[in-house]
């Protein structure tokens, strides 16, 4: 294998909740806030819908990082407490990632409201940069 690390561009998958974070990503667009082109977005109604198996599947398929974004706790959630459920699951998932030998930093949970377009762009840039330094998903080469 030739060394690809110098040209490594992370592939990141984002699960955005419909009400806050997806709208926040749209707002980044309306404001023409430019950010790293490494993210692919899946819209879900609520961050509480994100089944940990979706994330594991993404890692298995070779995603280098997964972003879950929902409404700010405690009370922005359109479904009252979906974000809190997402947070509980996220912390459990991190333990599972440890056991599977995947760095837990590859999966990130963030809160982005419908008015935080610039914050969304910043998070994507920062996360992309972080994954870039971490290198490719170890599952990809095995």
């Amino acid at each position: 294998m030739i060394d690809m690390s110098s040209k490594f561009e992370p592939q990141i998958l984002g699960f955005l909740c419909n009400w806050c974070s997806y709208a926040g990503a749209d707002l980044a667009g309306t404001g023409r806030t430019q950010y790293s082109p490494n993210l692919r977005i899946i819209r879900v109604m609520c961050s509480g819908r994100v089944d940990p198996t979706f994330i594991l599947a993404a890692m298995k398929n070779g995603a280098d990082g997964v972003l879950i974004a929902g409404c700010h706790p405690p009370s922005d959630c359109h479904y009252l407490t979906g974000n809190l459920k997402a947070r509980r699951r996220y912390h459990l998932l991190l333990k599972l990632l440890d056991q599977l030998g995947i760095e837990r930093e590859r999966v990130r949970l963030e809160w982005v409201s419908a008015s935080e377009g610039e914050r969304f762009a910043k998070i994507v840039d920062e996360f992309t940069e972080q994954i870039r330094t971490m290198g490719p998903n170890p599952l990809k080469s095995s």
């Binding site: 109604m45 819908r49 359109h78």
Partner: protein, 653 residues
Amino acid sequence: MSEQPRIGVYLCHCGTNIAGVIDMKRLLAYAEKLPNVVVARDYTYMCSDPGQQLIRKDIHESKINRVVAAACSPTLHEPTFRRVLEEEGLSPYFFDMANIREQDTWVHMKNPEEALQIAQDTIRMSAARAARLEELKPKEVKVGRRALIIGGGISGISAALDLANAGFTVYLVEKSPTIGGRMAQLDKTFPTMDCSSCILTPKMVSISRHPNVKLFTYAEVKDVQGFVGNFKVKVLQKPKYVDEKKCTSCNECTKICPVEVPDEFNANLSWRKAIYIPFPQAVPPSYVLDEENCLGLTPLACGKCIDVCDPDAIDYDQRAKEIELDVDTIIVATGYDPYNPLNEHEYNYGMFQNVVTSLEMERMLNASGPTSGKVVRPSDLKEPKRIVYVQCVGSRNEKTNLYCSRVCCMYAVKQARQLKEKHPEIEVRIFYVDIRAFGKGFEEFYERAAKDYGVLFTRGRVAEILEDPKEKNLTVRVEDTLLGTPLELETDMVVLSVGITPSVDANEIRKILKIPAGPDGFFSEAHPKLRPVDTVVDGILIAGTAAGPKDIPDAVAQAKAAASGAASLMAPGVYVVEPYYATIDDSICGGCGTCVLLCPFRAITIEDKRAKLNEALCKGCGACASACPAGAIKPNHFTDEQIMAQVEQAVAK
């Protein structure tokens, strides 16, 4: 899914919004080759009639049964395209939108290759999802004819009257003891110089007399549950300790009451009693006993007001009432609070007596105000000979609020004209950043202030104000930015033109209603241009300054728009909602009850050792589905299969 998916992919140029960044020919060539795609087309504006026509034609001629539109955000045009499918006899839910504008070309404008890659990936994910979409039927809910309006200022009043006149039942909830809001505090209104209360009070009276309006004053909305057509509202009404029906407004109680506190209606420039009427034209025209300041709600402590009340209207035993209302739509008109310059100790407001706010000046100018219309310096009650206005206090400033409050230029010009009308000999000078005279008749009004009334205008943001400790005269330091010279001038009084901030309760209301607000705290509209009075929550609308700074005509216009929006939701009697509820597969469910605990809407119960889901209560968040150990729960339109297909395609190259 019995039939084979036949997908049509439609690429929108959106003028140059998308096509200006991405090579559409390459994107089209890519889309054509995707699995299950029968036809792919591109067009300048896919949302236009000719664009829609392309889809209609393909549904019939190419027998496509799934549609993917690669265009803007689904929040914008998903309804447009769904309607096309529905009109051509397909389920509207056989549609998916690939967002290649807001989340692609607009955020990767200088990166056409990457933008094209993202568009390809997004369309591939979308097509994979489309192939797995299932037929759904929109859910209809019954909608009645009852509206809740939160806030009894001019916006709430206007919306309430429009709805009530159209035959809808209106519950108007106002937190203070009277309706009227901020407008009741104003003396005259720009640019017509109408007397504010003369045009407001007839409307207030109409509210109290209208058979379709039920008014709750001194009351606050504490909880809202449910959805359009079925909101359950809890209102807490504080005790006034005065029976509105018995009170004759004779004023005997106020005369005898020994307690004096600052009068908030007069911007704290005068005193009121603990039992009082906020202002003479208050609606309802009843007195209120302010329990925080009363010596004690018992004849043992004081009881003087009870002794003098002939009609026996005072009742110390009144208690707060919790009122439950069932309503179909909600209009939020919670208004604003003037910016408080004490927050940043701006221009030593609060330390220098002769630095006042524009609201304090407004009350002084009012004939029934604390000084009976005489403008005086707070330090010595003498009439000032020189007055300086400082514009943009609490507006257009990084330290306070970035936005323009839209009304301060014009009310400062108006007050200056009023001052010059009363006392042509005094000098009134306005220090401004820009004069924003954008409304109908505003520019002429401003010009006349300068030319005919002799109001002086100097461009420059005031840097600091100093005080002569003996005379209490003030020195204003500022740079005249037109001449480029520093100025220092002495004045008798300074008026701070304070801006508009969201009402102190706006954040509480936002949490109760679960509606979004912008970073400045004003409620957000569903679309800034096309849905300016809707919120993202169906059935909840916004009006007036709660949605952002505006003057009275704009607030009334928005209130009327919100009323018409609420009316058009309620008039048909039914409302169509997305069928995004979940279904449970009985044959897989083990009855463990995990979902029951997770559901925030109590939509799931266990019956006969199986989970049972109530479609009317379920809102489709999917929190249950992602936790069901058996995988028995399927949230419509966001099934595991559909999401997994997107996950797989997201990283496949």
